[in-house]
Symmetry: C2
Subunit: 258 residues, 2 copies
């Protein structure tokens, strides 16, 4: 039934028909889709064609497929965490990183020594293969269940002569205070990248199909704009977004753009 024939390939027509049915509410979020056998009957096509169509919807992130159980419409509008990337400082000089999320540590922090990679080395102004302290944390937001991978990298040059050398698992806000106490005036820049997750990130962050991760990299610089500290935060992009405040900087006029 359901004479379909409009746009392109057959499987795309089937995919479009299923997509329309989902969007029309025939299959509400969380509901199970008809089985492959039923779709074959319903649209009068072969199994490879049905599987191809289902596969396309899966790549779109519209449905989830579970072996032995069936296909299910992915729950939309699941709670999205907004991670505010802010730093506050009290009059007393105490720093706090204020994400707007009450992260909890899902595991003990994992402290280790690593070497710079191409990316982290460049960001920290170091050569490749230089040693650093590293501290990984798996964070969860109990309110929504969102997970995040947090990593702090401290070059040996930064830790030297400070309590950081003995406690590489110091939390960032405390590290800011130590560095300020050491005479630094701190500035921060943060870059945001998106990419498909690596296999270990998929499992650690419980990332579904067709979902990228947000990868933020915060560089703390001291006096002379010298990079002192690197923090990474990786989150599943379907569960979280990141937010920044922008303040107008006083600057000589350059050129405007679109």
């Amino acid at each position: 039934m359901s004479e379909i024939q409009r746009p392109g390939a057959l499987y795309q027509q089937v995919a479009a028909a299923i997509r329309d049915a989902i969007l029309a509410g025939e299959f509400p979020p969380g509901a199970s889709l008809p089985s492959e056998a039923q779709l074959i009957q319903r649209y009068g096509v072969s199994r490879p064609t049905v599987r191809n169509a289902v596969s396309a919807l899966r790549a779109e992130g519209l449905i989830d497929v579970q072996h032995g159980k069936g296909s299910f419409v992915r729950a939309t509008g699941q709670p999205v965490v907004t991670v505010e990337r802010r730093i506050t400082r009290t009059a007393a000089g105490r720093f706090a990183t204020h994400d707007g999320v009450e992260w909890e540590q899902a595991e003990e922090p994992s402290v280790h020594r690593t070497e710079t990679t191409a990316a982290t080395g460049r960001a920290l102004g170091l050569g490749e293969g230089e040693e650093m302290f590293g501290c990984d944390r798996l964070l969860t937001d109990p309110a929504t269940g969102a997970r995040a991978l947090h990593r702090v990298l401290i070059p040996l040059a930064t830790a030297e002569g400070t309590p950081l050398a003995q406690a590489p698992d110091t939390e960032p806000a405390a590290a800011y205070e130590l560095l300020t106490a050491a005479g630094h005036t701190l500035t921060w820049t943060e870059t945001v990248q998106a990419r498909m997750p690596l296999p270990d990130e998929r499992t650690a962050l419980q990332i579904p199909d067709a979902t990228p991760i947000l990868h933020t990299t915060r560089i703390t610089r001291g006096t002379d704009d010298q990079p002192l500290l690197l923090e990474e935060l990786r989150i599943s992009a379907d569960r979280a977004q990141v937010a920044y405040r922008i303040t107008a900087e006083k600057a000589p006029a350059r050129r405007a753009h679109a």
Copy 2:
């Protein structure tokens, strides 16, 4: 030949074998992979299996497949644009948005009237279905060829009584000046999301397989923290990253986190 049998499904073994060959340098970036027919011979499997393996590598973003031509190892380390999301203001009160990228307009700005969607409406504090001015621009960075979709949405309430009502294609920096002249003190917040591209975004931004887009949303607020203006920037995540400066805000202490 090439007796393969280690991990799981056949097509995964084939995919792993091809992946290893690529990483081992047998097929350097940009080089063409053996054709499907050759892979069938080489690994002694059927065409669906080969196609399944190739499809997996494609989903990983490791290769690109072109109809009629063949499969090619995706070039890595292509130039990545860092889009600095900054706003500057001269002593004379002139604003400039300073992205660190010299965007050029690839097409004429497309001006139209739209209605708020669920996402843009909530961000602007409006109900759904309210009318706005919209202006879309397709930008390119001549230095790297990166492309971006830029959109400005102006609620009618904001435009009313200002030159914006007659010129919805005003560039953001100029709009900031108009709003400041109208008595507003502006603040900006920007959220960053990542998701897989929609079909029209894929074509407009020339996004390859398995590549997400970065979607930034900047809200301009005036006096009373009332949302006045919304800007969106969408970029292919394999060509660009976005960057922010974070300044420590004076604030009463709350609680620190990891």
